[in-house]
Symmetry: C2
Subunit: 143 residues, 2 copies
DNA sequence: TTTACTGCAAACATTTTGCAGATGT
DNA sequence: ACATCTGCAAAATGTTTGCAGTAAA
């Protein structure tokens, strides 16, 4: 769970000013984080704008970009090509598993085994630099 | 390497008629397959249309959809969200590694270790159904 | 008072859709 | 003949950009 203050602090550490809009974004993201919720940029913008005081679409996109570059939020590219975000608090390297029934997302710490890179090298001649894994399954509630 | 005939046969096995356009698409894809090349739908359309006889954009998109549903071509969702295709001949489950320097793509047969699913289950409570892995590294020529 | 931020609306890139006419079976 | 395909152009989607005005520092 990531507090609004921490998000605000991240903005500031990126050299970005503290504005009312970023405040609203921080609040909203903190809530999303508490719920373990993932969302699209559009979705975030729509919900933020539904509130008392609307906010520009571009503002939300730009904020999300900034936070993602910092690592505070993760961008998840689903297998169908849709792009989603998730507040992961800049934790160390991890992956995500998406429930095919209810859409819930959980963090996964397990990762490629160390010998995997060696296997790749001998199989393809490539050296491995980065990887992204998207997992799909069923959460405990949906099995 | 996948022949144009095989692609045509795939169309037909999907209950799709054999048309001049699908013929041109089969030829082009077969060539791409020989070169181990990956491409976006737009790219395929542009090159196909550059030839003697232009072809409709939607036609190419629809053909690619059909072939992908059959598994003859793979859709690769890159980490930046861009979507690419690659003729993989309906081979069994595999992944892709993309060279960060030259963009070359290779097939990777290595996969998640068998105990991975168990690890996931104990860690998250999810059962694993599917996964997609995108790997990024450097090919032998670019190291 | 300076510089960054915001909102807007337009641009953008890519994909999908509806439909009338062409074409394969 | 009849159902499917095609091409077109329009709509849709989701994101980015340029710019003039607003607000933080």
């Amino acid at each position: 769970m990531v507090t609004a203050d921490r998000i605000l602090a991240t903005f500031s550490s990126l050299g970005l000013r503290s504005t009312a809009q970023r405040g609203a974004i921080a609040d909203w993201l903190s809530l999303a984080s508490t719920g373990g919720r993932d969302f699209s940029a559009e979705e975030a913008w729509r919900e933020l704008s539904a509130g008392d005081r609307p906010i520009g679409r571009a503002t939300v996109f730009r904020a999300l970009d900034a936070l993602e570059s910092d690592g505070l939020v993760d961008r998840i590219e689903l297998a169908d090509g849709s792009r989603r975000y998730r507040v992961c608090g800049g934790n160390e390297h991890h992956h995500h598993i998406v429930c095919v029934a209810c859409g819930r997302v959980a963090d996964v710490r397990s990762c490629l085994s160390p010998q995997f890179a060696g296997q790749i090298a001998s199989e393809t001649g490539f050296t491995l630099e980065r990887h992204s894994i998207e997992l799909f399954g069923r959460c405990d509630g949906c099995q």
